[in-house]
Amino acid sequence: MKILTSTENFGSFIIDTTEAWGRSWIFLTRTISAALRPPYRPYLYLQQMLQIGVNSSLVIALIGLFTGAVLAVQGEYTLSKFGANAYTGPAVALSLIRELGPVLTALMVIGRAGSAVTAEIGIMRITEQIDALRSMAVDPIKYLMAPRLVAGIIAMPLLCGMFNVVGILGGYIVAVGLLGLSAGTFMSQIESAVGLVDVWSGFIKATVFGLIFGWISCYKGYTCGFGAQGVNKATTQSVVTASVAVLIVDYFLTSVLTRVFMK
């Protein structure tokens, strides 16, 4: 009897998980197709670019500056053990452009804007505002979700680019200003070590993370449960799921992109 119960529980877990995956994929495809169909309502997209992109830029710049600074301190310390502290610049730049820029930008945007997107859509659901949209023959997927998804996809690489530039500046200030490295060495080593493929690799990652951000934060808000507790749970799940997804997808993307661009 006990075996049957645990088998039933396992079975229902598999069914529930598969259904949830299916629903979220249908949601994503509906959102993408809604974004491609007219009418386009560009003001909604600009509004979301402002919310998700512009309003996140200060915190991204701040995090980028100090990440670059820390990388310079740690890089110089490690590389000096091998007499290679001239390579502090490339260490900072490559770490930021290939890995830390996209990942930290995504995590920060998920924490700042993702939670806000989920909470906003969740509150609209529990207060019948989404039902009101549908009753007025306005598709909530097109009106609410598509602009947020597209804004995430566009804003994330731009924020990532800013993170990288400010991060390299932070590394430069510490390495040249405080640790006494030559400015010429710092910059020229970056120039010779960093290729366009590294930049592309980072931007591709950031774009995919933007998609993950928009998809999960909108989906969790749209399917949130009842009451304040439902919104609370959806917001927490949104941030945790999107953050974990970014880190998992990052590993696979890094593996694939490294192979593709190494050829």
Partner: protein, 249 residues
């Protein structure tokens, strides 16, 4: 105008509607009444096409919303609907002006000058002109209901659906909503469906009344038919008694 035919709806093992049928003639208003939790609001959402029944069909002006395959097809049918929600469901990030103008801008895609004229006309008719620049949370629930009514009627719908018109309102504001429904019906003329548990107040806006209990319509007729009904459940509900066949959940 609205025809609900043998509609069944369940959530898991709980049967909410079990073969409900109602017909509402053009220009008439029917109130669907019953205790809380009997599926009145579910019926409204089925009519709006927001939920789908397990069985049965719902026609709005001859179009079957239950068999519409896509959201686009449902939207075409929804264009004849206006809905006043229980809590008004105004968009809290938009001003009252923007809430009223919403359908004109997003659905009918009217030119701003034309939309502006219509919003001002509607706001004037419903005494909302002083509040147009406010956000919904800055005004009372009574005014929010009026804004909800303005938003529902701005596109001149053929059907008005009203969910619990005076929930959360004091008796004066509640009466004002009923007066508003009657005034709007006289001015714009629509087929109405009002969901309510407030008897006998809802009779003043109803040509006919249907009472749901146990997932079924137990009586349908004029308000006078309901008052004269010998059905003990109807009498218990009408008189607000706790003893009788309706068990308080």
């Amino acid at each position: 105008m609205i025809s609900v035919r043998n509609v069944h709806k369940r959530f898991g093992s709980q049967v909410v509607l079990n073969g409900v049928s109602i017909d509402i003639e053009p220009g008439k208003t029917t109130a669907v009444v019953g205790p809380s939790g009997v599926g009145k609001s579910v019926l409204l959402k089925l009519i709006m096409g927001i939920m789908t029944p397990e069985r049965g069909e719902i026609y709005i002006g001859g179009d079957n919303i239950t068999s519409a395959r896509s959201e686009r097809a449902r939207n075409e049918i929804r264009e004849s609907l206006g809905v006043l929600f229980q809590s008004a469901a105004l968009f809290d990030s938009l001003t009252i002006y923007e809430n009223i103008a919403f359908s004109l801008r997003e659905r009918l895609r009217l030119r701003p000058s034309r939309a502006h004229r219509r919003v001002l006309e509607m706001a004037d008719a419903l005494s909302l002109l002083p509040y147009l620049k406010n956000y919904p949370e800055q005004v009372s629930i009574g005014i929010r209901k009026r804004v909800g009514m303005a938003r529902a009627l701005i596109t001149k719908p053929k059907v008005l659906l009203v969910d619990e018109p005076n929930t959360g309102l004091d008796p004066l504001d509640g009466q004002e909503v009923y007066d508003l429904i009657n005034a709007c019906k006289n001015q714009w003329g629509f087929t109405g469906l009002v969901i309510s548990h407030e008897l006998p107040e809802v009779f003043q806006v109803s040509d006919r009344v249907a009472m749901i209990l146990g997932g079924e319509i137990i009586i349908e007729g004029t308000p006078a038919d309901l008052i004269a009904s010998p059905n003990p459940a109807v009498q218990q509900f009408l008189n607000g008694r706790t003893d009788g066949p309706i068990k308080i959940q």
